[in-house]
Symmetry: C2
Subunit: 214 residues, 2 copies
């Protein structure tokens, strides 16, 4: 079992190392060909599978870029002024009135930027499926970015929930009755961010599956 595994490993590197050529065609010595496998015959079982995973990885990554970019854009461009104002200030709501929404915007922007920067590595994983380091790097940073996006999305979701419902125990009034344009857009941004989280989770599991078939 160990020997066959090491054989697989040498197959991964795709160098047909062991060719035994028996020069002597002596009396009782038949020519023994040990490793007569072709390169193409060795590689596919893992490399082809990994290449497929890499292509799915690339597509999912582009989808995640779209969702996180949309979430950040929707949050960043939403602003609503109410038509009435007091003598002190006009009521207006935008993302920078809420620290949580600023964090949401920053988190999604960082995730989006990381995903764009990770595209070359993902392509490397398709072109050269045996480079494990790139896959490992992607998995580590995907996990970190998954945590960041989840933090941003759920913190914003908690505040959006409060804005919709308020909290009578603490005298926090519901905000969305007045800001009837602001709230739906922010909710949509949160939903988009959660979609990004979902895709990132799949990406992490896919990367682990690609690492498994070593």
């Amino acid at each position: 079992m160990d020997l066959s595994r090491s054989g697989k490993e040498s197959g991964d590197i795709a160098i047909p190392v062991r060719e035994v050529k028996s020069s002597r065609s002596g009396k009782g010595a038949p020519p023994v060909v040990v490793a007569s496998t072709t390169r193409l015959g060795q590689v596919p079982p893992t490399a082809g599978w990994r290449r497929g995973v890499g292509i799915i990885d690339l597509i999912l990554r582009i989808c995640a870029i779209a969702t996180t970019l949309a979430a950040a854009a929707a949050m960043g461009t939403t602003s609503q002024n109410l038509p009435f104002f007091t003598q002190f200030f006009q009521f207006q709501a935008s993302y920078d009135d809420f620290p949580t929404f600023t964090f949401f915007l920053a988190g999604n922007a960082i995730t989006c930027a990381y995903l764009v920067l990770s595209l070359p590595f993902s392509i490397v994983c398709i072109v050269r499926p045996h480079i494990i380091g790139a896959r490992m790097l992607l998995l580590i940073f995907d996990t970190l970015v998954l945590a960041l996006t989840m933090a941003a999305a759920s913190a914003a979701a908690a505040v959006v929930y409060l804005a919709h419902n308020g909290n009578p125990n603490t005298n926090w009034p519901a905000l969305c009755q007045q800001f009837n344009e602001f709230c739906p857009r922010v909710s949509g941004a949160v939903v988009g961010s959660f979609l990004g989280v979902l895709i990132l989770t799949v990406l992490v599991v896919l990367s682990a599956a690609a690492l498994r078939r070593n």
Copy 2:
């Protein structure tokens, strides 16, 4: 003759893969090849490394159980009544006044329960390092639980932030000036939960590293 030569060679290179023991030193007697390899001699390069990772995994898992359990317990047992009350109701704060804190409690309890249930699988990964399925299973569920804990912790953190600071734009008053016992304990619970998230992140990366050395 050929075999005896190979026996000499193996003796020279001192790799105890196959030992050739020729019991009879007769002229035409074929030497008997006995595969006397010890298990420990074959396994080390990957299995020993994986076993080390498994032990770290188990220790970190127990730490994560402690942190999430402490977070859930601190959140669940915190309740404070204020000494004054209006004609309508007495002011009191506990976790079930805030849906976010209820989610925090549930999320941390689920994570803690999962981690306890995952201990046998982690032990299996130490005892039988070549079982990749268990490791893969742990990685997938660790990722899901990481996302859940992160969601719970950051949603609660957003509400705790509001409770500490309030939000003048939306007339949400700061709560912690009155509930001076409730707020610190809840903040501590959130910190504990974030510690659990940190440990889970390390666990995911460790599992991926163990899968890599396949």
